[in-house]
């Protein structure tokens, strides 16, 4: 059993009001480390056994067609060790 992670983020040029709201809230709690924050989604996909190259290609395709909206989002696929 293995886990494939797909991280989806809004494209940099797309306004991210949720990330902005989070960034505005942190200083109110005394945290000043962030210069900016953007919010995304993470999908954890469980597969039986070690992921094959073919499976990873399918995950890429699924990410392109369903998990992300390529008009406004980008994604990264990786295998969790």
């Amino acid at each position: 059993m293995a886990t494939i992670i797909v991280d989806v983020m809004l494209k940099p040029e797309i306004l991210d009001p949720q990330g902005q709201a989070v960034a505005a809230a942190l200083p109110r709690l005394g945290f000043t480390f962030a210069t900016s924050i953007r919010q995304g989604k993470r999908f954890e996909i469980t597969v039986a056994g070690e992921p094959t190259a073919a499976q990873l290609a399918e995950v890429e395709e699924a990410a392109e067609k369903l998990l992300s909206n390529p008009v406004i989002e980008t994604f990264v696929v990786r295998v969790e060790k």
């Binding site: 809004l10 797309i14 306004l15 009001p17 949720q18 709201a21 369903l66 998990l67 909206n69 008009v71 406004i72």
Partner: protein, 223 residues
């Protein structure tokens, strides 16, 4: 004239769309998402609501419904399609329309009587309006901010494909104050505001929305 209204799991404004069609003088035909049968309608409305609870992204799951496969094919042949609110979101996810709808800029759901101008009166859904006509119809959404690449925006503006534009105030951060657009051919229109809930003074802010539905009926008669 038969006009279909699709119900997806979670669709909410399907009943209002059916009523608007009937009030305009058409035959309103309910269609179910799980069937690819368009029941010989001559146009179709994708209504507002929270199909699939807005899971993943608004409209992201509905676009794969069996009914959509029939609609996509038909649309490519000039079949008139109107997407309202969640319906507009389904159309962008299906790539029948460009761009995407994201979370309102101030992060709140907003329900208000919104003035908009009708800028493109060459579509079968809007040809009953005067160009530039100002109408007041409800908006009610949390994810109504229209976003598209610079190229897409230039194309939409250049080709006169902005159908509705917010007036007085941009309620959600949509680029270029865009409230509704059409495809290149003009048969597919997506709008965030709800014309189907501005059809009687008794229940809406005006009767300005009824013209969407009388327009399509006129257009179909003219064919």
């Amino acid at each position: 004239m038969r006009i279909g209204v699709v119900t997806f799991p979670g669709s909410l404004d399907d009943s209002s769309a059916l009523r608007a069609i009937t009030l305009a003088g058409g035959e309103a035909v309910p269609l179910f998402h799980a069937s690819d049968d368009l029941k010989e309608v001559q146009a179709v409305v994708l209504p507002g609501g929270f199909s699939y609870g807005d899971y993943l992204r608004c409209g992201a799951i509905s676009r794969f419904a069996p009914i959509m496969s029939s609609i996509i094919v038909a649309a490519e042949h000039g079949f008139p399609v109107l997407g309202i609110c969640n319906g507009f979101q389904i159309l962008t996810e299906s790539h029948l329309l460009p761009g995407a709808l994201i979370r309102n800029q101030d992060l709140h759901f907003i329900c208000t009587d919104q003035p908009v101008t009708v800028e493109n009166v060459n579509t079968p859904w809007t040809n009953g309006y005067a160009k530039g006509q100002r109408i007041v119809i409800p908006i009610k959404n949390g994810e109504g901010s229209f976003q598209a690449s610079a190229e897409t925006l230039a194309e939409l503006e250049g080709e006169g494909r902005i159908v509705l534009r917010y007036a007085d105030k941009n309620p959600n951060g949509s680029q270029n104050n865009i409230a509704g657009i059409s495809n290149a051919r003009g048969n597919v229109v997506g709008v965030m505001p709800h014309p189907e809930q501005a059809i009687e003074d008794l229940t809406g802010p005006s009767e300005d929305g009824l013209t969407f539905f009388t327009s399509i009926l006129q257009s179909l008669v003219a064919r």
